[in-house]
Symmetry: C2
Subunit: 318 residues, 2 copies
């Protein structure tokens, strides 16, 4: 089948889910005409609000995403969701998105949901996800929601991609929050305490407040106050407040020059990740024999791995 | 303080824990004289059996590591442990190693334990861990045990580093094992079912046996049969059998040419990771201004990120 990139982009912008899905697949699979795709998308990017949603397992991320979709749709906003699965052989894979896909939103043309497994990707989220975000941005979604489970490196990567990062917590994680400390504070633009009807919700909110008031003096300026919003996502309670807070944060970002700064940082790491991918392909594909030869010398202990890497890089520079 | 690399390596080989710790720190921090360190270590490497230990949270990895240490020490083997923590803002950090360090092994000169947090490292385990393994190998440990919690990418990376990979499971993870499927089978050289005195242990072992017998026909040759070993690590039960299975697997690897093959693959990915690190430093440090300039063009939509990355790479080669 001939690939008509311009037509595909036009159809994606027309809201056709299949065209959007195809574009994301082209990006994920590093299609040979990826550069053409990237160039065709670019004029239409830069409009969406990009929201990251993360939190430890069990806080109700899928339910919260679904409730947030409902609330955003009520306002007429089109929403694209990327459910990032840092898939593990122990967890299976692509769990988050599949669960959501089953819900009421599956047939809503104003919603597009896609799961992406990071396993096997160089640098996990770093490379493919920003490109998928660009697809959804160019397709005209008002909000792009990147959902990931908070394990390992993925939630840190999500922060780098998002304009606004929502950290989801739940009662009964008392120790978890204590342990989390500064890490969570650094990444959260707003906190949502889900399952707020459960015992311990007040304590969780109280702990968070204390952590924030301590940290604000130390690591943050006074101008953005990280809100703490209680929700019961399964009943949609409190979710409108989250939507409101997202708007407020976006407005704050824009008026304080932070949006431009975050987007510049994002573009920087995006370009860097692609450049590294190109260089890696050169090392492995083009210089594969040389790499194997140098690796043999390392096994035989006639070269140490640094000396071997130096030679490989020198070869590359030519 | 002047750094005398040769003296440091000599003291590490003499079993001095402080020298070993210092060498690993030099490696982790990418000390300017890293190349000298790598070269000094190389003649003494290639002797240790490198064992990876992974499994989902809650299966008793720290207890199992501790029990394995006791069993290996009984045989007079010196053991170095790297406890890899794919630290998350939600889990704090460096939990595994700290817990072990508190135990009986802390004062045993035949044991060295170190935790490494992967957060913030480019490619997580890919770069710093192999270098730390080389330190322990060169220091003369008979076994280097790399322990990591099975979330995200880390357990896959561990497999790439280890001669032998042990996957730890526990009863009551029924669904987990079902979900895990081929992923776990691909990475495990041997299975340990810990907490084998608990209800459901027989079912877990049964499930594993079925998975293995199915997969052997499909994805494995007949020559290595992944053993399934029940343990109660908290009481040291079954752990000697694990040690025996580790020896058997090592012997099998050696006699089937697999050891050389795995070590060649490891050297290859090690050299590749270091080369990528060098190239990344060139992009970010040396060409940082150019990267910022190109990133601005991406934000302004005058360039797409691929075109920007192509220019950056061309500059680097140029």
């Amino acid at each position: 089948m001939t690939l008509d990139v311009a037509d595909l982009v036009a159809r994606a912008r027309d809201g056709q889910a299949r065209a959007i899905a195809r574009l994301i697949s082209l990006v994920e699979d590093a299609h040979p005409r990826l550069r053409e795709v990237a160039a065709a998308l670019t004029p239409f990017t830069g409009r969406a609000q990009i929201v990251g949603l993360t939190g430890p397992p069990g806080v109700g991320k899928s339910t919260s995403t679904s409730a947030l979709l409902t609330a955003l749709r009520k306002q007429g906003k089109r929403v694209g969701v990327l459910a990032i699965d840092p898939s593990s052989p122990f967890s299976g894979g692509a769990l988050l998105g599949d669960r959501i896909r089953m819900t009421e939103h599956a047939v809503d043309p104003g919603v597009f949901i896609r799961s992406m497994a990071t396993r096997g990707h160089l640098g996990g989220l770093a490379w493919a996800t920003p490109q998928a975000v660009r697809v959804l941005d160019a397709a005209g979604f008002d909000v792009v929601l990147i959902e990931t489970v908070g394990v390992g490196q993925s939630e840190v990567d999500v922060v780098k991609l998002a304009d606004t990062t929502v950290v989801l917590l739940a009662p009964g994680m008392g120790d978890g929050i204590q342990a989390a400390k500064a890490g969570v504070l650094e990444i959260a633009d707003l906190f949502v305490v889900n399952k707020a009807d459960r015992e311990g919700a007040d304590a969780t909110i109280h702990d968070l407040k204390q952590m924030i008031s301590l940290s604000r003096r130390e690591i943050r300026g006074p101008s953005w106050r990280q809100p703490i919003l209680p929700t019961v996502a399964s009943r949609g309670e409190g979710v409108d407040d989250v939507v409101k807070a997202l708007e407020e944060h976006h407005a704050w970002l824009s008026s304080h020059g932070e949006l431009a700064q975050r987007r510049a940082a994002r573009a920087r790491s995006e370009v860097e990740a692609i450049a590294l991918r190109i260089l890696r392909a050169e090392l492995v594909d083009v210089r594969g024999d040389r790499l194997a030869e140098l690796a043999s010398a390392v096994v035989e202990r006639t070269l140490d791995p640094y000396a071997a890497a130096d030679r490989l890089v020198a070869d590359l520079h030519g």
